[in-house]
Amino acid sequence: MNKRDPGAMTQTNRPQISLSDGVFVLQGDLLIGTIEDLNMSQGVAQTIDLSGVGQFDTAGAWAVVRLERRLQAAGITPQIVGASALQQDLLATLRQHMPEDDTVAVVSVSLSDRLEQLGRKTAAALREMLSMVGFLGRVVATIGGLILRPGRIRWTAIVHHMQQVGLNAVPIVSLMAFLIGVVLAFQGAAQLRQFGAEVFVVDLIAISILRELGILLTAIIVAGRSGSAFTAAIGSMKMREEIDAMRTLGLDPIEVLVAPRVIALILMLPVLGIIANFAGLLGGAIMSWIELGVSPGVFQSRLVSNTGVWHFGVGLIKAPFFALIIGIVGCFEGMQVGGDAESLGRLTSTSVVLSIFLVIAADAMFSIFFAIMGV
C-alpha cells in the first residue's frame, strides 16, 4: 500500500534514478515536490524498475509515463516492473489522461496582431459609446413613462437613494466647499492687495464659486462617492444573476434600479450645489474678514449689490445635467459587469473616471454656450 503515514509530507526520501544493465531503477519517494530533482531525459533501457519506490503520487506517475513515452519515441517498448497494483492503477490513469504531446504552444504577437488589437479596441470603444447613448435614451424614456404614470414611481427607493447620495454627502460637500472658499479668499487677497483692490475679493469669490466651482466640485465628489456605489451595487447584482431574475419576473431593471437612482441624483445634486455655494461663500467671507478686514456686513452688501443673481442661476442650471451624466454612467457601467469579480472592479473605476471626465467636458461646453449667449 502506498497510503502515507501521518508524517508523510515532512520526511521524504530523495528520489534517485540509475541506469544499469538496461534497467532504469527508480528509488525513493516520487512526489510532486521532489520529481524535478530527477534527471530522466538521458539514456535508454528496456525496463523501468519501480520496486524501490516509496511514496508515489500523480506527479511521480507523470514523470514515469513521460520517461516511458520518451523511450517509446526512441522505438523501444519499455516494461515497467516492480510496481504495486495501486501504482499501476495510477500509471494507467495517467496514460489515459496525459496529452500526446506535452509541449505547450508559444503564441508570438506580431505587428499585425497589435494593429488588429488596436482596431478592435477602437471599435469596441465606439460601440460602447453608442450603447451608452442608447441606455441614456432608455432611461429618459422610462423616466418619461413614469412621469405619465406616477403610480409606478418607486418612492421608497427614491427616498432611500436621496438619503444615500444627498443627505449623507452633505458633510463632505460642505467641508470641501468651505475650504475652497477659504483658499480663494486667501489667494485672491494676496494678488488683489497689490492693486489696493482688496474689496474685489468678494466678486472673485462669489462669481467663481456660484458660477463654476461650487457645482463642479460637488459633481466631482458625488461622482466619486455615488457613481462608484451605483456601479458596484448594480454590478454585483448583475454578477449574481439578480438582474436576469428580475427580467424573468417581469420587472424592468431600468425602472426598478436605474430610474430611482437617476431621479434621486437629479433631485439632490442641485440641493448639494446650493449647500456647497453657501459653504463656499461662508469660507470666503470668514477668510476675507481675517485676512483683509472685509467685515461680514461689507461682504454681504457687496455680494448683494455687485453679483447678479444670474450667476447663481448659471451654476445651478448645470446641476441636473451633471446628475444625469453621473447617474447614467454609473448605472450603465454596472450593467456591463460580466460574471467575474475583476470586471466589477475595473468597471467601477472606469465609471468614476468617465463620469468625472464627462462632467468636466460638459462644464466646458456650458461655459462656451453661456459665453456665446452673453450671460
Binding site: K3, E36, T58, D89, L90, H97, M98, A341
Partner: protein, 258 residues
Amino acid sequence: MADDPIISVRGLVNRFGTHTVHDGLDLDVRRGEIIGIVGGSGTGKSVLLRAVVGLLKPAEGQITVFGESVRDTSAADYRRLRRRWGVMFQDGALFSSLNVQQNVEAPMREQLDLSDETREALAAIKVRMVGLPDHALQKMPSELSGGMRKRAGFARAIALDPEIVFLDEPTAGLDPIGAAAFDTLTAQLRRALGLTVFLVTHDLDSLHAICDRIAVLAEGRVLATGTMAEMQDVDHPWVQAYFKGPRARAAIAQKETL
C-alpha cells in the same frame, strides 16, 4: 496508529447569533475511507466542513486532523496542515480573474517551487483527470457551465495530491452520466492516491456507489453513522424518509441490476 481517526470532531458547537447550527456534534473519519455527510438543507453540512478546515472558529469543541488540533494551531502549523488537504467548495469558488489552468496551478505556485513546464503539464493532467476537455484550460470561470466549474474546482483541490479532500456537493448540478463519472473518478483517485474523502452530498447514487460510511446530520448532531445498509434500520423519521423514499429505492434497484 493506523486505527486513529484522521479527522476527529468532539463536542462541536457552532452558532450564528442566537441560531445554533451544531450542538455538541461528534464525528470520526477513518483514514482512507469515503465518508458521505448527508442532512437536510440548512442542517449545517457546509458549516461543518468550514469548521474542519479551519475557516470558521467554532464556539466550542475540539477538531483534530492528522492528530493535530485545527482550532489552536500556530499559523505555521496551519500552513503545513493545509497543504495536506484540498477543498472543493459548493459552487467551485474558482478565482474569477484566473483561467482554469492558472486556477489549478495556483496551489502549486503557492506551495512548491516547480518549473513552469512541470507545473503546466501537471495542471493539464489534473484538468483532464476530472474530465474537462483541453480547450477548457484557457477558459475563464465565468465562461464555464456550473458542472464544468465544479470539475475545475475538484482539479484545484487535488492539485497537490492531498491526503484528504473535502468535497461539498460535487455532483449537484451535473448530468447523471457526468455525476457517475465524477463518482468513478473520486473512487479511482481514492484508490490510487490513498485519499480520504469527506463528501457532502445529497446524491443517493453517490452514496450507494462510493461511500464506505454515511453520517447523517440532523438536530445539530450526527444522528447516525454507518453503511448504507445500516441506514435502512435507523429509527428516525428523516432518515427513514431519506433512505427509504422513492429515490432511494430507485438507486438501490439500479445498483442491484448492475
